[in-house]
């Protein structure tokens, strides 16, 4: 039985300006393929040719293959991250595919204004992720002697509940302090979902002018050591994934 001919497709990683060098020589994409740019006036897509059949199958598999997804996500991001230090880079979400480069050009042309605006938004800026978790309560660490009576047991339980409520109030106040300190240092901020069971109380991406990057990181470090009841975590530098929603007004 003959194998069906494997169809290629153009996978889009990111959009950059058409008159810059993203420095992608030697960088490969999700299929290990070499990269190229596909340009229209003012814009260029960073593209690789992938095996369409295999990629379609992997993306539509239910359940999905977590290993494929992880590898694809990392490789996609690695391409975006390779451009980002060199040139203004508008990251694409995973899995934007066209039949061929002509399709890519039509897509660029059809969204020219929004993509140009997105390039302006991201130029000379970096995304930083700031997360804050409720710090574990220190009091419950030391195990006292077992309670000697039911009354003592109930009193202890009430004291512990009050401590937890106090800790929650403290943490909420600290989250406010963090946000008020960081927001003015950024051009824009986007809140991501928080996760109650994991005690994730703050999950925000900030878009920061590169000139203020060190100031921003210093502020996070300072907050991390001074706010009570929170553990603060910084991630980045990221390409501006969270600030290129074409359906929103430009930042």
């Amino acid at each position: 039985m003959s194998e069906p001919e494997s169809a290629g497709a153009s996978w889009v990683y990111a959009v950059i300006a058409d008159d810059v060098d993203a420095g992608l020589a030697g960088v490969t994409g999700i299929d290990g393929e070499p990269l190229r740019t596909v340009a229209v006036p003012g814009l260029a897509a960073v593209v690789g040719s992938v095996d369409r059949t295999r990629v379609e199958a992997a993306l539509s598999a239910r359940p999905p293959d977590p290993q494929w997804l992880e590898v694809a996500a990392r490789r996609h991001h690695d391409v975006v991250a390779a451009c980002f230090p060199q040139v203004a880079t508008v990251p694409f979400r995973l899995a934007t595919l066209y039949h061929d480069d002509t399709g890519v050009q039509e897509a660029l042309t059809g969204r020219r204004a929004q993509l140009r605006a997105a390039l302006d938004t991201v130029a000379h800026r970096t995304e930083w992720g700031v997360q804050a978790y409720a710090a574990g309560s220190a009091e419950s660490g030391a195990k006292a002697e077992p309670p000697r009576s039911g009354t003592e047991y109930l009193l202890r339980r009430r004291a512990e509940a009050e401590q937890r409520e106090q800790a929650r109030r403290l943490a909420r106040e600290s989250v406010r302090v963090v946000e008020e300190r960081l927001r003015p240092l950024a051009v824009a901020a986007v809140a991501h979902p928080v996760d109650a069971p994991a005690d994730l109380l703050l999950n925000v991406s900030y878009l920061v002018d590169n000139e203020r990057g060190q100031e921003f990181r210093d502020a996070v470090a300072d907050l991390s050591s001074t706010v009570a009841g929170l553990r603060v975590r910084l991630t980045g530098p990221w390409p501006a994934y969270s600030f290129v929603d074409l359906t929103q007004e430009a930042v």
Partner: protein
């Protein structure tokens, strides 16, 4: 106290560096699967389905690899 900072270094360093330097997967998936420009590609699916794929990929992945999405 130093903040645990996950630095996303240049492409080659990310690929070759020690595990501690690698971008944390959950932070990466939150961006690559749920952020970034969304446009309708020609291959595979219409725009509405593309959105569903992106949203459900993360949801499905979190159900099969929940450890990726817990507090680091």
């Amino acid at each position: 106290m130093t903040i645990p900072t996950v630095i996303n270094t240049k492409h080659r360093a990310v690929a070759a560096g020690p595990a501690g330097d690698r971008v944390a997967l959950v932070d990466l998936l939150d961006r690559v699967l749920a952020k970034g420009v969304v446009v309708s590609g020609e291959v595979t699916i219409s725009l509405a389905e593309v959105d569903l794929v992106h949203i459900s990929l993360r949801a499905l992945l979190s159900s099969f690899r929940p450890e990726l999405f817990r507090q680091p």
